[in-house]
Symmetry: C2
Subunit: 380 residues, 2 copies
Amino acid sequence: MSFPHATGANLDQAPKKRLAVGVVGSGNWGTAIAKICGENARAHGHHFRSKVRMWVFEEEIEHKGEKRKLTEVFNETHENVKYLPGVECPPNVIAVPDVREVARRSDVLVFVVPHQFIERVCDQMSGHLRPNAVGISCIKGVSVGKDGVRLFSDVISEKLGIYCGVLSGANVANEVAKEQFCETTIGYNPPNPVISAEQIVAVFDRPYFSVVSVDDVAGVALGGALKNIVAMAVGFADGLEWGGNTKSAIMRRGLLEMQKFATTFFDSEKGTMVEQSCGIADLVTSCLGGRNNRVAEAYVKSGKPIEVLEKELLGGQLLQGASTAKEVHEFLSTKDMVNEFPLFHSVYNICYENMDPKGLIQVLQPLKEESENEGGTETE
Amino acid sequence: MSFPHATGANLDQAPKKRLAVGVVGSGNWGTAIAKICGENARAHGHHFRSKVRMWVFEEEIEHKGEKRKLTEVFNETHENVKYLPGVECPPNVIAVPDVREVARRSDVLVFVVPHQFIERVCDQMSGHLRPNAVGISCIKGVSVGKDGVRLFSDVISEKLGIYCGVLSGANVANEVAKEQFCETTIGYNPPNPVISAEQIVAVFDRPYFSVVSVDDVAGVALGGALKNIVAMAVGFADGLEWGGNTKSAIMRRGLLEMQKFATTFFDSEKGTMVEQSCGIADLVTSCLGGRNNRVAEAYVKSGKPIEVLEKELLGGQLLQGASTAKEVHEFLSTKDMVNEFPLFHSVYNICYENMDPKGLIQVLQPLKEESENEGGTETE
């Protein structure tokens, strides 16, 4: 029976030493992840050091009428009052302003920083890592440069000389922080597993955060990046007030383009995208009103350019679906394979080449070889 | 490259004779399908007889102040004024009140009747079929009796002694009738294909109704039946106001139970459920506000029993998700495999055994083998 099950926290073999977990990042998702790691460090005391260090980029904040340091307030209140207010973390999660200290004192390093900061943070950590440390990247997206498409887990791996896996799934941060049930996928497949997949699962698996681990690191990483392109296509359909049949066709075709991209350019398994939380579930969640979906809908309804909507609706943040569509388009152009991914291509064209969103319908229609002739003609 | 493409209307080889298409049924979906078949019969005049006969269960209706026969009004106006008002069919679609005439004069018989009538209709048609006729069942659901789960295509096949394929997808009838774009899946794999899959695709494929054909007849048929169970689970989640993470986890787990059911008890391919319109797309559409979803949501919010809601919201029609959950439960009980399908089991328990819908969360949580112990203990 090949039905995938959550791996669960199966830690039959006691490890030689208790592992220390560190979290690099402290936004809303970083803090929610640190809370999870802290809960598990306490729950599995045989296997993990209790203290979970969370690197916090130090800021002065206003707290109860006083100017305070964010780390100090967190370590007093166990609440990230700036980025995840109202959620209490367990007291064994400690805010640390020096990322090198987190690096020096962690066996498992969980990366949850905005993707534009990852290289700089790695440079600071470099030379301060424990032997046999491993990383888990929770950063969604991919890095596209002159060398092609790179996973952030590979960026981390190369910068720090450690193995790095990936965690991604249908995990809206605020819902996870409130302990609303969800699933996630971890891609972890080190060549020499000093720290086992079971141990990694135990770092994250909670009753409200159900982890399935797979070998396919690339598929897990790409799901979280590419789904934003598809969510925009569904958002355009929402803006045009197309029906559920049409939207589910867009999702299906988009999911298959995600799968094709991952299996054509990376060593990904077909099942990851269509069966795991990092693929189908994350896509569905994003199409049910994620930011890419909402901005794309507003684009159709308001007629305003994407950049204007980014300012108005996202406070100036880049819309990931649009920028990923552009990066993927540039990559596919170098391979002369743009036309093999018609849905990705159309989202790019709508965002950057003034294509009419209504044209998405033509994209969904396969080319027919026979021309239509009204009225029957006998052939014999 | 194994990327599935729509087969399209590829009819390079001229067939020996033009095929006649008949539609058995004339509800809203039946009429929408007859419209499609009529358009294709005209478009591909080399391959199909122009006339498409649609069996209409004769009724007296009130039309423009007069009592008229439904078939007469249809043949005058080309509109099914009772079941699909406002939609014009091409004039080569002819309403026929005698199902035996449709049987006698059709090479391709498309079945679109409510499932409770199919055996009786087949009995009437029996003995009146053309040699080499084939059927395509557009009936969603499965037939469960003392012999286990049977596909309606198999029921038709046995009753009439013809091969029968299946058409199913994310195809809300009124959207299809309005020519809003959608996709569908045809399962067609006859042992001796006198009528080819390409010809069958050409009967249905339209610019707004994109057909993919697969060999996996069982998978196509089961997708349309089992998705209703999952749509109810998502409806319960809607009623409980659970977030998008949780709902997409339910859809994912449901989709995998659908896949497992089809591959365990039938000769189905894993890809059909997770990659084709009859699986993932139909499930998504049904979870975005189909009737199973809406009634399940109302069940949680109103506290009224399912039977009462069937009366209030469905005019007394049976809710397919609930009845399918019950049939599947009875079937799985005989196999002692109820616990292998925890989501299906829970929907049954909620509908018929007073289970609290909140219990769905426990179902999503895999059993953990390690008990939690707060506070760390050294092992060495």
